[in-house]
Amino acid sequence: MSILIRNISKRFGDFVALDDVSLEVDGGSLTALLGPSGSGKSTLLRIIAGLEIPDSGEIVLSGRDATALAPQKRNVGFVFQHYAPFKHMTVRENVAFGLKVRKRPKAEIAQRVEELLNLVQLQGFGHRYPAQLSGGQRQRMALARALAPEPQVLLLDEPFGALDARVRAELREWLMHLHDVVNVTTVFVTHDREEAMEVSDQIAVMNRGALEQVGAPRALYDEPATDFVMRFVGDANEVAGVLVRPHDLDLLPEPADDALEAMIVKATFLGRDVKVDLHGSDGSEVIAVLTRDRYEALGLWRGQTVWIRPERDRAFA
């Protein structure tokens, strides 16, 4: 089901958490809310869930105005950053909770819980308490719990934030797989651009309570709408007043129009590419990424003076 966010604003005292944010999330899509901490992305997620009431604006779920609807009535699954497991319940009881409060028949609950435990690969852990699980297992339990009542929307707040790198990568893969299987409209919050790029099919970049740009990962990278997006979704250099990605820079052995004189400080081999650290004559620090072929063709060395020419730059007003 689709989510429509219309002109949502929210303040906490003097702090403007969200300022007139509008966003459309298609049914069945996987959307990332990407932004630095304090950008309002978690607040927006909590407003979609009904855990926070917006000062103004509307939330429309599947074409129905849900702005004034209690969280209980939104049919939204929410996975908290620290999973919020019910500590006094076993894994099975945790997952069954949403079905029990809906007074579903016992046999149906038992069957659905087993299905979900299989889906999140926690079969055999049903009798354990959350304290007896690892971080990754706890997160999968929280996911199973959120999915149990068959929500129309799944919301995840920094789902991989509290896990170590290896488990993170594993769970990312697994979340994408899960989304293919369950196909529930999913929105997750992250401050990690690689995570957003890898997992989602739509990214909404947020900054200081406002939406900067919405688009497919590739569109954001190639056609950033603002200075902030340019810097936030990828590496960016400022060369002679314009922003340019490291691999959109070329180095020339001789002066040229619109080229900046610079000295090579360091060159690092990254396999197929070479990362070149430069010191511009205007005092700027620039990083260029060349293919190894290009680098070797130029016959560059450390300490050499070269001219930097942006191949594709983006000037923002």
Binding site: A49, G50, L51, A70, P71, Q72, R74, V76, G77, F78, F80, H82, A84, P85, F86, K87, H88, F97, G98, V101, R102, R145, A146, A148, P149
Partner: protein
């Protein structure tokens, strides 16, 4: 090293000696004096009808005050931790009032409210409702003095567990009541039990406020603690000690219960 060890032993000795003189000594003497002449005098004293009535009365008052203060304490703690409303700071401060206020003052203030010249006294009198020198005033006095314990135990526990579990329950479709019974209450259960035990101990031992409002009518408005005083003043030392022993034993049971429960708090 050597002197540090001596220091430690010295401190330990000081602490234990202090406890022995102040707490254990008097308690031991009460036990000794009670059973000085065997079990029979103590048993006789305890089986007097007025003494039995006094214990019954104490239990009735406790049985009313504890549940009332348990519900009130949980509601107050939830209001203090989970809600924000004007006057919250005041509520938080006022809950501790009974700890700071002498019970005698509590008793006197009830006099001012329910006495014949008091605010409610006239109305109550007109309608034939007796509050002072009867069970209602004794219950109110006991509720007042034992009010803070449940709330004071539950507040820090509620803060510690946070409200994420409750929010998770909401998103899973649980209403306010369901969330309270299935999530909040189980999470704070040890704090509640601990508070209930402390409240019970306070109710059983209450003397000052009840002494003022009860009128101390033997066989009618005399609680166990009042009965101890009355027996003592009538030179029936065996009776006074025997009742004291029962109260002291209850206190020790409370202590044991608290000691057994305390470590569980951390793990639940």
């Amino acid at each position: 090293m050597h002197s540090a060890r001596l220091d430690r032993l010295g401190l330990r000795f000081l602490a234990l000696a202090y406890l022995a003189v102040i707490l254990v000594g008097p308690l031991a003497i009460v036990f000794w004096r009670t059973f000085e002449h065997g079990l029979a005098p103590a048993w006789n004293a305890l089986s007097q009808p007025d003494t039995i009535h006094a214990f019954k009365l104490t239990l009735i008052i406790t049985a009313i005050a504890v549940p009332v203060n348990t519900v009130f304490g949980i509601v107050c703690a939830l209001a203090i931790v989970r809600r924000s409303f004007p006057g919250k700071g005041l509520l938080n401060a006022f809950i501790d009032l009974p700890l700071a206020l002498s019970p005698v003052v509590v008793g006197l203030s009830l006099f001012l409210l329910y006495g014949r010249q008091g605010w409610f006294g006239g109305w109550l009198d007109d309608h034939g409702i007796q509050v002072l020198f009867a069970l209602p005033a004794m219950v109110i006095a006991t509720i007042f003095v034992s009010l803070p314990f449940v709330a004071r135990e539950v507040v820090p526990t509620l803060r510690e567990i946070g409200d994420e579990q409750e929010q998770a329950a909401y998103t899973l479709g649980a209403g306010g009541w369901q969330t309270f019974w299935r999530i909040t209450l189980p999470s704070i259960r040890w704090a509640v039990i601990y508070g209930v035990i402390l409240t019970t101990a306070r109710c059983l031992g209450e003397y000052g406020a009840v002494a003022v409002v009860s009128g101390r009518l033997q066989g009618q408005t005399e609680t166990a603690t009042l009965r101890v005083q009355e027996r003592y003043e009538s030179y029936d030392f065996a009776g006074a000690y025997a009742i004291s022993i029962v109260l002291a034993t209850l206190a020790i049971l409370v202590l044991v219960a608290l000691t057994v429960l305390r470590p569980k708090e951390g793990t639940s």
